[in-house]
Structure formats: structure tokens, C-alpha cells
């Protein structure tokens, strides 16, 4: 199966009641420890880890240089990753369009665009993958008694 088979598919209950469309697939990504044990995600306390790879050149690794080290550390979140496992589906009742990143808790600017996107996706919920009963082309059936979960994306270990 490919992700394209799922995106925009209609989601229905066990009894065939229409719930909306799949707008995204939520994954759980394994974050690996890197050589010096800095795999847990860079933050201010940990400048210039091996994660700060910038466009294939070492130019960004200029910590200590005119005091912009925290800036560099904050701006490039890159994780050594292992497996990516399916967690669930984001189902939007009104549109099959993209969330543009505004499903993340901390992302609310610019408010005009954020408000518009969130309004278009009002009523969106997350459904756990184990609540998916059957997948046929263009259609996702959920098990009886499936649970509607909070769709907000907390930014992983940053929370």
C-alpha cells in the first residue's frame, strides 16, 4: 500500500456512515541516539551537536562565532531516525486538503491563515490505526465503537 491510497480516502463507520476524509497519516518515529548521546533533540542547552547539518556544508557550524550559537542550535531540528510506525489517521469532516502544519500545538501564526485553516478543518479527529477495520480503494472503514482522539500534534519530546 502507498500513502497516496489513504490520503483523501473517505472514512466511514462500520455501518457505512460518512465521517470525513483522510487528511494525514500520523507516524511514530524512532529517534536514535547518536555517537555522543545527543539524539534526544537539540535545544538551547545543547548547542552545535552533530545534528546541525546545513545544506551539505559546514558553514552553519560556527558556534562561538559572534554569539549566534543558540540561534543555530534552535533552528535546525534534525534527528537520526530509525523505523516509522503507523499510529493513526487524521480525519477531517469538511475537506481533504492539507493542514499546512497548523495541526501542531505551538503553531498559531499568522493568525489569519491559522484561523482559516483550522476553520476548514473544524471537527477533525485522530483515529487510532487499530480502530481501522477494513481498507478498500478510496474507502476506510472503522471498527464499531472507534474512539475520536484529539488531533493536535504535540511536537514530540519537545513537549
Amino acid at each position: 500500500m502507498i500513502l497516496g491510497d489513504l490520503l483523501d480516502a473517505h472514512v466511514v463507520t462500520h455501518d457505512g456512515e460518512e465521517l470525513g476524509r483522510v487528511v494525514d497519516l500520523r507516524l511514530s518515529l524512532e529517534v536514535l541516539e547518536e555517537g555522543d548521546g545527543s539524539g534526544g533533540g537539540p535545544d538551547e542547552a545543547e548547542p552545535g551537536g552533530p545534528d546541525e547539518r546545513e545544506h551539505g556544508s559546514g558553514d552553519a557550524d560556527d558556534q562561538g562565532d559572534d554569539g549566534d550559537t543558540p540561534l543555530v542550535a534552535q533552528t535546525h531540528r534534525s534527528h537520526a531516525v530509525g523505523s516509522a510506525d503507523v499510529v493513526g489517521l487524521l480525519v477531517s469532516p469538511h475537506t481533504g486538503g492539507s493542514f499546512l502544519g497548523f495541526e501542531r500545538r505551538g503553531v498559531r501564526s499568522p493568525w489569519v491563515v491559522a484561523a482559516l485553516v483550522r476553520w476548514r478543518h473544524r471537527g477533525t479527529f485522530l483515529v487510532a490505526w487499530h480502530d481501522v477495520e477494513r481498507i478498500s480503494p478510496g474507502l476506510v472503514h472503522l471498527v464499531p465503537g472507534f474512539e475520536k482522539l484529539d488531533p493536535t500534534l504535540d511536537e514530540g519530546e519537545d513537549a
Partner: protein, 409 residues
């Protein structure tokens, strides 16, 4: 001198946006028909492009991602693809006009038939794309394009009644005998020219070419706030010359020689020569900017390797794209179309490309994954949202106005 060269990217970007051959003609037409009454639109456009070019440069510096990469990433293949088609069309039409424009300018200087100059001009553009280092290209072409300052010099030598000029600028009104629809058509055209999307494609990709990092944010601001206001100034100076010399005589601008007529009248042969060199350089610069943008947009949409900092063999598809774009431009010119009329169709494509370019820039400039602490501040977001509204209105109004006025005629 080093400092001056540090802003060459902003200057070249702005020259390609504000005073490419299509805009040279538009500005002169506007001056000859509407005097100084549309200067406010240029000011609005300069603020808008400064705002979004600063964001695109900041995203490129901090995250290393150029603008069409983030357009594709955030809008996905369909909306991103629609933008690609529209933007590529604008690039190609503008490139066509510029190659024709270089030929026209060289014709003005040499009186050799323009059609003979066209393949020569295209070959020269290709050689620069193929061979010349990015920084040398932007410094030489950007600085020579600044010779268009000759228009501003001419305007001062012509010595209009400045209080009258100030009144026209600050209290704009549709001149007698002009239809309001024509006025608004040119308002939208000037705004679209100021905000034309290939400026941010070129500017952000140029930032990657120059290997900007998060340390380059000061350089980013310097480039933006020097380059685009200067571009706007040149644009107003050209319109101003036409307003002072051509408007009172009711001369309608249709040729390049009419555009430079006020310069010859005010500053004689020497100033005329300076301005003609400036026009050739600006047109050549716009040709480089649009040819590179055609390569940047396609390569970034599809994830190819790109950039003049790579050996051509290491960015093969990028270089082949630019060659094909140049060949298409020459082929279009060989059908004897008027190169300047070609750019009028850009308005149609801008209606699609403008919103689909500036929305993702504004969204990603707020994305902490890309920007960390360098996300937009409140002022940038408020202004950005307002300008998104203006862009949408201009995009919606462009096509009806174009049809209603027969492209302003």
C-alpha cells in the same frame, strides 16, 4: 566597495523585477498617460516585495531551503504544480521579452536588424549561465544596471515643478480623458511587476548560491532594503521623465527610442549613452534572472540538484532546463511577435502565481521547525497578512481589468 558588492544580489533581483524591458515600457506609458498619479502603487509594491523577499531570504539563510522548495513542500504536488506552471510561464514570457529587448537595445545602439541580435543575445545569456561565477555575474550586471540612475539624473535636469509633482503623488487622481478602468489596470500591472514572483525565487536561490547561513540575516536585510527601494526609484524616475516630456505633448509611448527621448533632451548624447548601457545591462540581468528562475523553480519542485555553485555536470537537469528555456524564447521571437507585448500575458499567470507563492512563504516563515527562534515577528505577520489580502484582490482584479480595457489601450 566590498560592502557595495554585498548588496548586488538585492540590486540585481530588483532590477529584474522593476525595470526589465516590459516594465521599462509600462513605466514610460504610465508616466506619459497618468503623470505621477500612480507613484503610490510603486511605493505599495516596494513595501510588499521588501516584506516577502526578506522572509524568503531569511528562510533560505536559516534553513537552507529556497522558496520553491517550501512552496512544493507546503502546498503539495497539485497546488505547487499549478504555481510551477504559472511561474514557469511568467519566466519564459519574460525571458523571451528580455532576449528581444537586448536585441532592440543593441539595435538602438548599432542599427543592425534586431532579429540578427536575438540569437547572439541568447547565446551570450547562456554563456554567462554556463560559465560565469554567480558573484561575478551579479556584481557586474547589477552595477551596470545601476546606470539607469541616468533617468533620475535626467528628471532633475528637466526640473519639473516639484511642488506640483508632490501634489500629484500625494493626492492621486485619474487624469482627465482617462478611464478609471485603465488607471486601475495600470495600478495592478505596476503592483504585479513590483511583486513578480521570480524575484523571490531568484533572491532566495541566490542566498543559497552565496551560501548564506543564519549569520547572514543582516546581509539579507541590507540587500532587501537597498535593492527594492532602488528598483522602485528607477521605476518612478522613468515614469517621471515620460510625465515631464511626453505627457504635455500627448505623445504615446510605443518604442524604446521614445522612452529614452527625455534623457537625450535633458542630458544630451553622453547621458543617453549611459542610459542605453543601463538598459542593455538591466535587460540582460532580467534575462539571467528569469532563465535561472526557470531552472530553480523546476529543479526545486522536483528535488533535482541545482545551482551555479555546482559544476554543470553536477546539476545536469538544471542546466538542460535553462538551455531549453532559452531555445524556446528564441523560437517564440522568431515568429516575429512583439517582444514587449508578450509580457502582457504574464498578468494572467500572475493571478495564479502571486497568491500561491506568498502564502507558503508567510506560513513557513512562521514554522519553528524551519526557523527556530527566527520566526516572523508580529509586525511582519500583520503586514504580511494585509499584503496577502492586497495580493488576492490584485490577482482577482487583474484578468477582468485586462479584458475590460483591452490591456490598457
Amino acid at each position: 566597495m566590498k560592502k557595495l558588492l554585498g548588496v548586488a544580489l538585492g540590486i540585481l533581483t530588483a532590477i529584474g523585477g522593476f525595470v526589465d524591458i516590459g516594465d521599462l515600457v509600462t513605466n514610460a506609458v504610465v508616466g506619459a498617460r497618468f503623470g505621477f498619479s500612480l507613484v503610490w502603487v510603486v511605493a505599495v509594491g516596494v513595501i510588499g516585495i521588501c516584506l516577502f523577499a526578506e522572509m524568503s531570504g531569511r528562510v533560505a539563510a536559516v534553513s537552507g531551503r529556497a522558496t520553491f522548495e517550501i512552496i512544493r513542500e507546503r502546498l503539495g504536488p497539485r497546488a505547487g504544480g499549478a504555481n510551477l506552471v504559472a511561474s514557469f510561464a511568467i519566466n519564459l514570457l519574460t525571458l523571451t521579452a528580455e532576449i528581444g529587448g537586448i536585441a532592440l537595445a543593441l539595435h538602438l545602439a548599432s542599427s543592425v536588424e534586431p532579429r540578427l541580435w536575438m540569437p547572439v543575445a541568447a547565446l551570450a545569456v547562456w554563456l554567462v549561465l554556463w560559465r560565469v561565477k554567480f558573484s561575478i555575474m551579479e556584481n557586474v550586471v547589477g552595477l551596470m544596471g545601476l546606470l539607469l540612475i541616468g533617468f533620475a539624473v535626467a528628471l532633475f535636469l528637466l526640473g519639473p515643478d516639484w511642488s506640483q509633482v508632490a501634489r500629484e503623488i500625494t493626492q492621486p487622481a485619474v487624469p482627465e480623458g482617462e478611464h478609471p478602468a485603465a488607471y486601475w489596470y495600470y495600478a495592478v500591472a505596476l503592483f504585479g511587476a513590483a511583486m513578480t514572483p521570480y524575484e523571490v525565487f531568484f533572491f532566495s536561490s541566490g542566498a543559497v548560491e552565496e551560501k548564506w547561513t543564519a549569520k547572514s540575516l543582516g546581509q539579507n536585510r541590507l540587500n532587501v532594503f537597498t535593492g527594492f527601494p532602488l528598483g522602485g526609484l528607477l521605476s518612478v524616475a522613468i515614469a517621471g521623465c515620460a510625465a515631464v516630456v511626453l505627457l504635455p505633448h500627448g505623445i504615446e509611448v510605443s518604442t524604446l527610442s521614445q522612452i529614452v527621448l527625455p534623457v537625450a533632451q535633458a542630458g544630451g548624447t553622453l547621458l543617453l549613452a549611459v542610459v542605453i548601457v543601463g538598459i542593455v545591462a538591466a535587460t540582460f540581468g532580467a534575462a539571467l534572472e528569469t532563465a535561472l528562475s526557470s531552472g530553480y523553480t523546476l529543479a526545486q519542485y522536483l528535488g533535482w540538484s541545482w545551482g551555479k555553485f555546482r559544476r554543470p555536470a553536477q546539476a545536469a537537469r538544471f542546466h538542460v532546463t535553462m538551455m531549453i528555456a532559452l531555445l524556446l524564447a528564441v523560437a517564440i521571437l522568431m515568429t516575429s511577435v512583439d517582444p514587449v507585448a508578450v509580457t502582457e500575458f504574464s498578468v494572467v499567470f500572475s493571478a495564479v502565481a502571486l497568491p500561491l507563492t506568498y502564502i507558503p512563504i508567510l506560513v513557513v516563515a512562521n514554522d519553528p521547525d524551519y526557523m527556530g527562534a527566527r520566526v516572523n515577528g508580529r509586525v511582519a505577520n500583520t503586514l504580511g497578512s494585509v499584503y496577502l489580502g492586497i495580493v488576492l484582490v490584485a490577482a482577482l482584479a487583474a484578468i477582468p481589468l485586462m479584458i475590460a480595457t483591452g490591456a490598457g489601450s
